[in-house]
């Protein structure tokens, strides 16, 4: 991890770019492209959730889609029952967070190693997929909302202005809400990572033994990080259900889980912006490939994942960051002969 990526300057810079995009994109783009960009933003929130727990917490969760799917289904079921979307919106964050807390309790307090962690999260995702997939038929419903099995739930009402169920968001409004959510999540995570709690989380990733010996209950910190990740993924799921007014069990599927991991790997582990860039790039590629028939999208995703693990294991953003830093140092070196100070490791930093 290099200094630029972790510094506050970069956070402010990225947030500024985000705000420019928030106001600029609706002016520049037509409605169809704007809707397309909205889904990229939704998926970016999901990507950021894994970027946080994996890149900073060291928790490789193969089942981030479990929380994503739970968020989508919770929102759908709640809003169909209640008609007004304010409480369902918060439920869609709370239920996945609660589920993540339960699952995390089993994993972290059982002291399972990271490999077992991957397998268990994968399994839980498959359980949810199997369960939801088998709920076809009118006997499966919660309140007035039929679960629909593999057909999913169609016609999910879009978010409305709080308190007024008739005032639903336009596509432009949904873009604004989604993008603001993305910026808020990014900003909040940067603050969290910069805080004392964040430092302990990172310290636990770097050296669990040492963090334990310093008197931190690593299990609790990891559980906290995992729960936050679940909540963010749930938020993304809720926005996803809003985007298409539709949800089905494939969002729990393995293909979806693989994609999130690919975004993080491609963008760069240990950054928050990298996975957003990875997500947009991969989503764009998948859409581009989906529109033509000669080339299978699984084939491309698999090839990208293998190549990145073998050749660019740090991902795009950190590699570009090091390249930039190297160029900067070369230039600075030429201008003044004094040796540039060596980059010192900044993490874990003292508060």
């Amino acid at each position: 991890m290099n200094r630029f990526v972790t510094s506050w300057v970069s956070a402010a810079l990225w947030l500024a770019i985000g705000i420019v995009l928030l106001f600029g994109l609706p002016v520049m783009l037509d409605d169809y492209t704007l809707i397309q960009v909205t889904i990229y933003a939704v998926m970016s929130i999901l990507g950021v959730s894994l970027a946080f727990i994996w890149g900073f917490g060291g928790i490789l969760c193969f089942g981030q889609t479990a929380f994503f799917g739970l968020g989508a289904y919770t929102y759908a079921i709640a809003v169909l029952n209640m008609g007004e979307s304010t409480l369902p919106f918060f439920l869609a964050i709370g239920v996945p967070a609660l589920f993540a807390a339960l699952l995390g309790y089993v994993i972290f307090y059982g002291r399972l190693s990271d490999v077992y962690m991957g397998v268990i999260t994968l399994t839980v995702t498959l359980i949810l997929f199997n369960l939801v997939n088998s709920t076809a038929g009118p006997q499966w419903k919660i309140g007035v909302a039929p679960l629909g099995g593999f057909n999913g739930i169609p016609g999910i009402p879009t978010l409305n202005v709080p308190g007024n169920a008739d005032d639903v968001l336009s596509p432009k409004g949904l873009f604004d809400v989604t993008f603001v959510c993305l910026l808020l999540v990014y900003g909040a995570l940067r603050v969290l990572i910069g805080s004392k709690v964040g430092h302990v989380i990172i310290a636990a990733k770097e050296n669990e033994q040492r963090a334990l010996l310093l008197g931190y209950d690593v299990r609790a910190y990891k559980l906290f990080a995992f729960t936050v990740g679940g909540a963010i993924a749930g938020l993304a799921g809720c926005l996803f259900a809003n985007w298409g007014a539709f949800t089905n069990p494939t969002i729990f599927g393995l293909a979806q889980s693989a994609q999130i991991i690919i975004w993080v790997i491609v963008g760069g582990l240990g950054t928050l912006v990298g996975p957003i860039i990875g997500c947009v790039a991969i989503e764009w590629l998948t859409t581009a490939i989906g529109t033509q028939q000669t080339f299978n999208s699984n084939l491309m995703l698999g090839a990208i994942l293998v190549v990145f693990v073998l050749v660019v294991p740090r991902g795009i953003v950190p590699s570009l960051g090091s390249l930039g830093e190297w160029l900067y140092r070369q230039l600075a070196h030429k201008r003044m002969p004094a040796p540039a100070p060596a980059a010192t490791p900044v993490l874990p930093r003292r508060p």
């Binding site: 399994t123 839980v124 369960l131 084939l299 995703l301 994942l305 293998v306």
Partner: protein, 288 residues
């Protein structure tokens, strides 16, 4: 009485199919500590090689018992040389790379065979026990599972090759000093695991539909069985398959097949909370 016999056969069958599904993974993970997330796709390749071979007029048994393992073993060698070799000791990276391989293999097979269901019918017909009818192929699966478990144990414990493999996995540099090439041993072990997985795919081809994405149905079960089994390869495989297979079948009898699968996975998670090192991490310690 008849019902009891049928239930026993069904339980044995459930256990046996778990053993067959997980055996290749148990070898690769147990010996090399490589988590092969392309395991399901290796099975899928085995199933497709059976389909391809029978279409060319090869006898079904030859295709299942010979062609499937040889074909998938060869693919295993190739992938080990190209990808997995570079990642030994980096467990998480191996998981990611093999996951990439799994997507890649699904993509390749979809491009070649199309995303349609192929299938061969199960041989041997069925026989009846009292009022119940049991498929003869069920007994084949049970027999193969027994032979497979015994054979893995025999090879690892009683042959020169097994000794070399176990020694190399424990101390590669020492094996190297004694004139054994660890990289070749890794290659052969991975190929053996892949071949067993191919055999599993071939054997299960008549029972499940053969589609490019069929691997996803097995991967979780195989993993959870191997991890629940713990460090001892064969003892862990058999004990975990026995426990989880029985739970799966009883829950299936009591409710639906879907809930049976769910019960299996939930049971495994609860068990890992209680026994984080698997069954053989606590019981049957030191066995193989």
């Amino acid at each position: 009485m008849d019902l009891a016999v049928v239930v026993i056969i069904q339980v044995l069958y459930a256990v046996a199919s778990l053993v067959i599904i997980s055996a290749g993974l148990a070898v690769i993970f147990g010996m090399m500590k490589v988590i092969n997330l392309a395991h399901g796709e290796f099975m899928m390749l085995g199933a497709y090689s059976v389909i391809g071979a029978t279409r060319l007029g090869v006898n079904l048994w030859v295709a299942m018992l010979l062609i499937a393992p040889v074909a998938v073993g060869a693919i295993g060698v190739l992938l080990e040389r190209l990808v997995i070799r570079r990642l030994y000791g980096r467990m998480v990276d191996t998981m990611l790379a093999t996951w990439g391989l799994s997507l890649l293999l699904v993509g390749i097979v979809t491009s070649i065979f199309g995303n349609t269901m192929a299938g061969v019918s199960a041989p041997l017909g069925s026989f009846s026990i009292g009022a119940y009818s049991v498929s003869g192929y069920t007994l084949v699966i049970i027999a193969v599972a027994v032979v497979l478990a015994v054979a893995i144990r025999w090879v690892l414990l009683r042959t020169q090759w097994g000794l070399i493999a176990r020694g190399t996995m424990q101390k590669p540099d020492m094996a190297n000093a004694l004139g054994i090439s660890p990289s070749r041993v890794y290659s052969v072990t991975f190929a053996a695991g892949a071949a067993i997985t191919g055999l599993a795919g071939g054997l299960l081809a008549p029972l499940t539909g053969v589609v490019p994405a069929m691997g996803g149905a097995f991967i979780a079960k195989a993993f959870i069985t191997v991890i629940s089994g713990g460090p001892a390869i064969v003892a862990g495989l058999v004990s975990a398959s026995g426990l989880l297979g029985a739970i799966n079948l009883l829950a299936t009898f009591a409710s639906t097949p879907v809930l049976g699968e769910v019960a299996l996975l939930v049971a495994a998670i609860v068990m890992l909370r209680l026994l984080p090192h698997g069954i053989t991490g606590r019981f049957f310690k030191g066995s193989l």
